[in-house]
Symmetry: C3
Subunit: 477 residues, 3 copies
């Protein structure tokens, strides 16, 4: 067994890059152990996931197991889950040097963030004061996935610029800020935001942009040739785009009201997305001398309609209203990629690797205000008396709120989300720039120090790099 000793020595006594070898595992272990302890103290199954469901059914005269919330929400949950892990992950594979990093770190961030999200959202939204416990069910899982989405969006702005440990820090603060702003917007302001235009997209977008702005690296543009996409990395990215596009109706309808709420949200989102595709193609084709389409637009701007419907999808925005929203957002988002992103990079020194400003921040903000307008324009004639109460939850403390007031609060909620994103992101970015352990976590300054990209075992990579100096295109394979 002398073989083992050698392996173990190798394993624990490596000297190069010790920082990453220590910091990343340390953070993961400490964090995971903390999660186990906190889950032990706080988290329990809710009554629909507990073995007492049999009794609960009898007590509440529930005639069938199908009434369990699981059957209302689980199919949508799985679609959302696919969006988070495959959709967001593969959407970012378009960088030829960073396909693994995109998918792999997306995976790590989401798995890390969703545990913290269950706790944070639990403390703010569903802590039972009597027992001091958080009771979770399938809706909590969807909310945790949503919460991670905020941080994954932010990741899109800083892709390739930060180390894995920094990513985890960004996620940790991102989830925390998310839970706070969500509490303010949904509970204190009593806004409706089922698909998270404000809470997820506007917040996540501006959070990422603010971090990226603070972490500006002037020499990054020199490495642009390493940032490019290649033919098949773009086909991989289309996998991400399509799964996001197809499942967005589930995203926006996953936690809306049972029955008509989920039904209507799915229809509206479906229509807005279809409309976005056409205007994106139109603007993209117009913008190129040859009339060809730009894959970046097709991959991203086609999704803008779904982002912008996040708030209004559950309202009676009407089918043609949904088409109009998609129509406008497809145009705005594509123009964003054509003009705003280069402008931000040139004049504001703001690098936005994946263009999240155009896909999430801007359409999210628009979605928030669209929601406010649609809410303010609601009438009892269109919604019906019960429908109005049901849709806007005008119950309890909010029973006497008018739709106009609701519209005002929706707009206020959108501003809160943006403010949280910008201030929070700037703070997190500053904290990182100045942190004590800067030699560990500092932004890498040169190519050599590029953060540990996910790589293979077999070290074939070195052969690639050798070849790639003489023959550019081989590297892509």
């Amino acid at each position: 067994m002398g073989n083992f000793c050698d392996i173990m020595r190798n394993f624990f006594c490596g000297t190069k890059n010790t920082n990453v070898r220590i910091s990343l595992p340390a953070v993961c272990f400490v964090w995971q152990i903390a999660m186990i302890v906190l889950f032990g103290v706080f988290i329990r199954y809710d009554e629909e996931a507990d073995t007492h469901w049999v009794k609960h059914k009898k007590d509440h005269n529930i005639t069938s197991d199908i009434e369990n919330d699981f059957y209302f929400r689980y199919p949508s949950f799985q679609d959302v889950h696919v969006m988070i892990f495959v959709g967001f992950g593969f959407l970012m594979t378009f960088l030829k040097r960073y396909s693994f990093g995109a998918v792999g770190f997306n995976f790590l961030i989401a798995a890390f963030g969703l545990q913290w999200a269950l706790l944070m959202q639990g403390w703010f939204h569903s802590l039972d004061p009597a027992t001091g416990k958080i009771y979770i069910g399938v809706e909590s899982l969807i909310n945790a996935d949503f919460c991670c989405a905020g941080s994954l969006i932010a990741y899109g702005a800083i892709l390739g610029k930060v180390s894995p440990v920094q990513l985890l820090v960004v996620t940790l603060f991102g989830v925390t800020l998310f839970a706070v702003e969500e509490y303010i917007i949904l509970s204190l302001l009593h806004c409706r935001d089922a698909g998270g235009s404000m809470v997820i997209h506007a917040f996540g977008g501006y959070y990422g942009l603010a971090i990226s702005w603070v972490l500006y690296r002037p020499n990054l543009h020199q490495s642009k040739r390493l940032n490019g996409s290649v033919y098949h990395s773009d086909v991989f990215a289309m996998i991400g785009t399509l799964f996001l596009w197809m499942f967005w109706p589930s995203f926006n309808s996953a936690i809306t009201d049972h029955g008509d709420g989920q039904h209507r949200a799915a229809i509206n989102t479906y229509l807005a997305l279809a409309s976005s595709v056409l205007t994106t193609v139109a603007i993209s084709s117009m913008s190129q001398k040859t009339g060809k389409l730009d894959m970046v637009h097709i991959q991203n701007a086609t999704l803008a309609g779904g982002v912008a419907m996040g708030t209004a999808a559950e309202f009676m925005i009407t089918p043609y209203g949904s088409l109009i929203v998609g129509f406008c957002c497809g145009i705005i988002s594509t123009f964003g990629y054509l003009f705003i992103t280069p402008f931000l990079e040139k004049y504001l020194k703001l690098q936005d690797t994946c263009g999240i400003h155009n896909l999430h921040a801007l359409p999210g903000m628009l979605g928030g205000f669209i929601g406010a307008i649609v809410a303010a324009a609601a009438t009892e004639e269109v919604y019906g008396k019960e429908g109005l109460i049901n849709t806007f939850d005008f119950e309890g403390d909010f029973a006497n709120r008018s739709v106009l007031t609701q519209g005002g609060f929706q707009a206020a909620g959108c501003c809160v989300a943006i403010a949280f994103g910008i201030v929070g992101g700037a703070a997190v970015g500053e904290f990182k720039n100045s942190e004590h352990v800067c030699h560990v976590l500092q932004v890498p300054e040169d190519e050599e120090a590029i953060p540990p990209v996910l790589e293979y075992n077999n070290h074939m990579i070195h052969k690639h790099q050798e070849i790639s100096e003489s023959n550019f295109s081989v590297e892509q394979s």
Copy 2:
């Protein structure tokens, strides 16, 4: 801001390829605006997606939100959605020069077509004469996706031969013809065709073949080396194949009757597909000197069982009957790829890029006739009295129809679908060959004029092409 002026000038004053730059955006914008207007006039939510659902529930004594049609059909809808966008899109990525074109234009066509489909199908099937409105719900979305499937199948025959604008024209007429033939077959002839063997596959297949036949380009075979597949474009195509194969049970069961109808359709399709795989592998291996398998067969013919079960899946075809259908169709479809496609190209001058004749047209036609036979063979003994009425909708005007008559009408329906496909396709093809604006939309005659393939931003493509002249295989990467 002088920078902006330059950009804007560049943007609007390009001179090369102005036609495509103008025609594609113009069509997209005009179309999308027309859709918004028509949706505004005609389309409303149905009672299950409207806020009046709360009231509707009370009025109809519905005890639970789970009775909303959304919960019966939404999981199947999402599966169908994946088939349309990822399944059809990636199945066509096998061409190494056309992976983007396949996925991207598939995306455009489907997003374009589904809006028109909602209107056309609405006018024919669900226009409320009292209000003049069309009421849509989740079943309408599934039907719109189905309707697009017809045009996407046709796209498979003309892949790489037509410009995007022509594709949109093909889709526009395809959806229109689809709605008419569907109305004749399902409403006037009162056929059953839940999975659309006749309505979708036979129609779509022959529609595409007729267009391709009229648009024959003699010099296309010279560009065959550009048409080939490469290793990883074939792996991408397997993504399409597998998602189609896995979700076909959802496709055939998505709009069948609640309860046993959906259940039985899923089981039958699952079995037919499994059986197809084995016979496809058998014939494919026999056909190669080395016994190796041909990826084209595995990618396509394995799906023939699902196509052929489109009509009969909801009937009591019995599990072994499903296996027999899959058995035969796997063989027939593979033989089609081996003998019929080369024969059609050589003697009938009919180019069928993706082999849709073997995957859709032929199995679809067979599926229609299998459905007719199974319907004619139905007995009260097997179905039960209520089951027979329920399965074939022998109600109202059709209460006295016998199963034999039903079988006859099913066969007639299949002929109608084929006739619509061939005549409609030939007409659309002729229209294009002779259309006034021929210099814009004409079939490109040489490599340079190849229709705007989706391409990247970063112009790396030029480097590729340079290299590819000296080193064949690099081009594929």
Copy 3:
């Protein structure tokens, strides 16, 4: 038509590699015909998929179609189906020479196995003694997919080492053994194993390892350079990983009890998987000198938590208990890839291509024992009186079984699964080594005789190979 004659002569008179050309089609045809006959004799729709459902509803006072088992299980079934075909298939695409083989043969095996599984499981579990028929519904389809999973896991150990016909033999015996051990474990020992830690993963893992051990090929290590992965084959493998990871909650909850059972199993699996990701990343980063992550670990060990929760997911293991299971299994599985796989290959002459020992065999065995412990620790206080009976099915003959006894039987069940795997696998391996038709089915001894890899039509492959001798990396494209 002289052309046809030539084609037909070519088709039936090829002389090279006749064995594969004959044996594979022969097996497929004979098998599929046998299936049709056996299905005709034995298999019928169950009362929920039969047209008599209308009557059944009335007779049993079922008020709504939504009570049909289809709506409880179909979304989970589709997720499981994706795991079997895309998940397992793409997880094995990491070998650059074998991407097609992995996806294509996975497809063949599963389609072949699921038909036999429906029969075998039907005979053992649901044969109606009165009619001699097996009645199938959506739960049968899920079970058939599960049953194939066992053989697909085994395929992971022998990937690239056996011919397609041998694979079918392995699957045939695998499914048969599976049905027997499942009958012993679930029916005779009355264990609970909804997600199949024991029945699927421990059995499948040891079955594959035993076959691989018997079929040891000393010269295989020389072809290691052909076994390696390349950048984008690893991205393809991530598609498999992510779909397995995302849908594992559906896998473990697909056939658990309606209501709380499915709900709780999904939550527990979700948490265990998230926890696995963090510890896998930690160990993987620690193990590399540069702190980089090893894709093999990310692709595989992140899934260990799901495997290990297969038995306990439906119990009241508590959320933090699930995190602990994931925590430990992520560590153990990653250590397995680092130390156990090389150890097995070096000292036990056991080649394990995909490392199934670390992903399936070991975590599956652990999962079985974890299930035993959790079952033994169950109390009426935690579960409730009805909940306890409901969860462990303490009814009929087993009404008086205590939780301690149940725990003991669970542990016994796990041992049975392992024993079946090892003994069965060794027997199948020996049978193959010694079989009469050895010159047909023998393990190929050299590169030339590599089993028929799925290949393309257009013979471009030869150009590749030529080039690949001078330029290593081009081959990967």
